[in-house]
Amino acid sequence: MTAYLRPTDDAHAIALRAAHADYLVLAGGTDLLVAAHHKPVPVGILDIAGRFAGISVDADAARIGAGTTWRAIATSAELAATWPILPAAAREVGALQIQTRGTIGGNLATSSPVGDGLPVLLALDATIHLASVRGARAVPYRAFCTGYRTTALGADELITAVTVPRPAPGTYLGWRKVGTRAAQSISKVMAACALELVDGRIAAARFGVGAVAARPIRAAAAEAAATGQPPTAATAAAVAAALRHDITPIDDVRSTAAYRLEVAGNLLARFVTNAGRAQG
């Protein structure tokens, strides 16, 4: 029969992971358990739901435990006050029944190109915290997801937390998901931004985009086109044009490469002009 282990605390979870590298690690299960009855039965299950959970905020950063549910993120006043694009994205993950179970750590472990929480973490320059019996380490999210649904997570490691630094004063944060409807449907295109405005210019730009490459990516060429420029319509057009060098969208059941290219450019252009409007 399938072994089923539920650790008693976080340290126990890390110890069990080392002892059972062949077990399925299960948090909320909203992705891994789709059509479970048609899937091969795992050798064993390590149920970490409820472990590594909770949100804490200090002067420098917010720390979100990997086991924190999207619902907890969606309803966090502390996150909404400083990192509003995180709760905004959380509210668009699936629907209530998915948000009550699905976790930010699960989204990271899967690192699907259409993971709804991931472009925001790229824009916020998130760091992923990992632990094993060998010790703890931290990896920037942009280096954590290495390819199509592959990550830097070791076979004996668990994701313990995500930290996002406090944005510099005057930073414009944006998030937009485009799909057939806000709830449930898998996205056609997603984009998030953090545009740091200093003296009327974009001093630093981070764009995270999803569903337009094999993994969620930072748009380096678009960022270069924005950096040092004023948040004007001309900069917006340059950013949209530069994005074509960053992304490799495909035709699939949900959308077309041409649509994704056009809309992703429009989303980034709108972030730039909205940032201009926000600074007044």
Binding site: Y4, T30, L33, A36, H37, R71, A95, L96, Q97, R181
Partner: protein, 162 residues
């Protein structure tokens, strides 16, 4: 052999000899005979199989039995207090917020959790219903009467009317 699991279902501890990989949906319907919970898509998209797990609405097709071991589950059969329907059930009946009935148990369970939690009140009550019930899909008819019923139930709960 399979180690027995203990799940508190609608207030009663139930012992089930099921694989921990068996879907909670199948445990409820086939092992415990609670057929009020319906399977729609089986992929977590439609909400017909919604039950409460420790009070939170979840898709029972996306929960396996091991995850429910030692936890409390409420199904549509557990919403009423004896002959007294939950406000959501009463308003769905009174306002015609149901047609074929496949999506209705999931809607009743999700809405009961939401209105008991104090949501769907005030000026944007309808918008709250549309967001919080976005995971419950009805393919028979529109959503107006369902939204009407949930807003009315939220007002009933706010007034303390059972």
């Amino acid at each position: 052999m399979t180690a027995p699991l203990t799940i508190t279902v609608n207030g009663q501890p139930r012992t089930v000899a099921a694989s921990p990989w068996r879907r909670l949906l199948d445990v409820l319907r086939e092992d415990l005979g609670l057929t009020g919970t319906k399977e729609g898509c089986g992929e977590g998209e439609c909400g017909a199989c919604t039950v409460l797990l420790d009070g939170a609405p979840v898709c029972s097709c996306l929960v396996v039995a091991g995850q429910a071991d030692g936890r409390a589950v409420t199904t549509v059969e557990g919403l009423a207090d004896g002959p007294l329907l939950h406000a959501v059930q009463r308003e769905l009946v009174a306002r015609g917020g149901a047609q074929c009935g496949i999506c209705t148990p999931g809607i009743a369970v999700c809405a009961a959790a939401v209105v008991d939690g104090g949501a769907c009140r005030g000026g944007d009550a309808r918008a709250q219903v549309r967001e919080l019930l976005a995971g419950n899909i009805c393919r028979c008819t529109g959503y107006q009467l369902i939204v009407d019923a949930i807003v009315a139930a939220a007002a009933d709960v706010e007034r303390g009317q059972p």
